[in-house]
């Protein structure tokens, strides 16, 4: 089916956002300590939907928070009472504005793992109740490489509403899902629209053209380009290459890349018990952590840094692909920016893959 497209301008979009903020529980990039995080906001002045990609954290925490309560128990001599935790604050009806395409895409990737052998109901609920409004970037950042990966950025349908900046200050809003369609219809009032192209009718053609043009310019701006298929293939063959040792030399073994990554989804379970009451939490964990694979008996299959890096690269570009058919990477480059020593996943996989060629 086809979805509506609306046209507006900067003030119009601003007013639209304000209306959304006023009427819905809305998450948007809000600045704190010089970086943007998706926070619950109520006024447009508190947030910046156009936040720069390099300084904006992903929307992963809104679906997979860095620490979530999974259960509560009271243990006494009478037995152990297990109870559900209080209502999940992330499972209410909500809107996300200012999400980037890579953010939206990451959910598509994560959906696979969360709907695999075990259906994560918490995740499901959060997903279902969220409308994602995603603005297409105008320019790629130094570390972006989304266009080089296995998804069609231009025709991405991972968001519910797509926002594209057109020429002459025009802004196009297009629904990409049914949820988005309903949402737009309900919330985008006619007064906000400019010109005659306020609905799907009229010069739909010209909107299509403009959006294509915008994408072409955007795609042009990428510094990093690669052939993901080649990388997938080569990596799968060179498990034992010493190149991993070289690329991982600088790594300080912190967890930053994984915590920041919109697709990394490893977690640990921990209990915190005070008096008789315990809370069980599910929190981020990272394969770059030396203790990630430490077993109870003391054995650690990945004690060395290069093995952990191999796991990270392989999981992203080989194993996940094999199992779910997707790369576990959306090319956002956030890990490179966050890394204390700026190790780039792009460089790592390309360097290792090209070393494969030389051999």
């Amino acid at each position: 089916m086809s979805f509506s497209t609306f046209v507006t301008d900067k003030p119009g979009l601003q007013k639209f956002y304000e209306a959304v903020l006023a009427s819905h529980e809305t998450y948007a990039p809000a600045e704190k300590f010089g970086k943007f995080d998706f926070k619950l906001v109520s006024r447009i002045s508190e947030c910046d939907p156009e936040s720069p990609i390099a300084k904006t954290q992903s929307i992963k925490p809104l679906f997979f928070p860095r620490s979530a309560k999974v259960m509560k128990y009271v243990a006494t001599s009478a037995g152990t009472d297990v109870s559900e935790v209080d209502e999940d604050p992330l499972a209410v009806k909500r809107i996300i504005i200012g999400a980037k395409h890579c953010d939206a895409r990451s959910l598509q990737v994560l959906d696979k793992v969360y709907n695999w052998d075990y259906i994560d109901t918490d995740y499901q609920k959060r997903r279902e109740n969220t409308v994602i409004i995603s603005t297409r970037c105008d320019k790629a950042d130094t570390h972006c490489f989304c266009t080089s990966l296995d998804y069609d950025v231009e025709n991405l349908d991972a968001m519910d509403v797509l926002v594209v900046n057109g020429a002459e200050g025009k802004i196009y809003l297009r629904a990409r899902t049914e949820k988005g369609e309903t949402f737009l219809k309900e919330n985008f009032s006619q007064q906000l629209a400019v010109g005659s192209e306020q609905s799907e009718v009229g010069s739909r053609h010209s909107a299509e053209e403009e959006m294509k043009k915008q994408y072409a310019a955007f795609a042009e701006s990428f510094r990093l380009k690669m052939n993901y298929k080649e990388v997938n293939e080569r990596l799968s063959k060179i498990f034992d290459t010493p190149e991993f040792e070289k690329v991982s030399a600088n790594c300080v073994s912190c967890n930053t890349c994984a915590f920041i990554c919109p697709t990394c989804h490893c977690f640990k379970i921990s209990d915190e018990k005070v008096k008789d009451t315990g809370l069980r939490y599910k929190s981020y964990d990272s394969c770059n952590n030396g203790y990630f694979t430490l077993m109870a008996g003391g054995h650690n299959p990945r004690p060395a840094k290069y093995r952990r890096w191999r796991q990270r690269a392989m999981h992203k570009f080989v194993y996940y692909k094999e199992r779910f058919g997707e790369n576990l990477c959306v090319g956002c480059g956030k890990c490179t920016i966050a890394c204390p020593v700026n190790i780039s996943i792009f460089e790592v996989v390309n360097q290792v893959a090209s070393a494969g060629i030389q051999e």
Binding site: K69, K72, E272, V274, K275, T277, G278, L279
Partner: protein, 162 residues
């Protein structure tokens, strides 16, 4: 303003949070075995009365007290902590309380810096003979912390206020 505070006990660090009317603070007291614990025993044998808010943990020496204990107490049960050891020069283990003294000062100042009222973290030297002093210390600490109201900063979520 003054009157309001009297009517409703609020947390000094988070004034928007109001304590239940029957709120009583919990104070974690960490005492060294040789002087302060013995001193607190003497308070008992002398039947000197003091407020019942303190919960006492025995350690061999004030130098055994890791700042962890204070942080963890404040994170969970305690509205304030009191650490007590031997007077300078009286340490059963020669120099333990001197090392402890440095750690205490830095810990206290750091916790105060990040938002805890300084009276929530208190220290005393109480000798084995100072039963009355121990009671005085507990009375003062309890009084101080009652004035500060319940502690809410960084509390564990499953911690239930009494």
């Amino acid at each position: 303003m003054e009157a309001e505070v009297k009517d409703q006990l609020v947390s000094i660090e988070k004034p928007e949070l109001i304590a239940p009317p029957d709120w009583e603070p919990v104070i974690m007291g960490i005492l060294c075995n040789w002087c302060s614990y013995a001193g607190s025993d003497l308070t008992g044998t002398s039947r000197i009365q003091y407020p019942p808010n303190i919960r006492i943990i025995r350690v061999p020496c004030s130098s055994r007290v890791d700042p962890w204990f204070l942080i963890k107490s404040l994170q969970t049960t305690a509205d304030g902590v009191l650490v007590s050891g031997c007077h300078p020069g009286d340490c059963h283990y020669i120099s333990g309380n001197y090392y402890a003294r440095r750690r205490f000062l830095v810990t206290k100042k750091l916790l105060n810096f990040v938002g805890f009222h300084e009276n929530r973290i208190q220290f005393s030297w109480v000798s084995a003979a100072e039963g009355p002093k121990f009671a005085k210390v507990v009375i003062k600490v309890t009084d101080d912390i009652k004035k500060l109201g319940p502690l809410h900063l960084y509390k564990k979520e499953n911690f239930e206020k009494k």
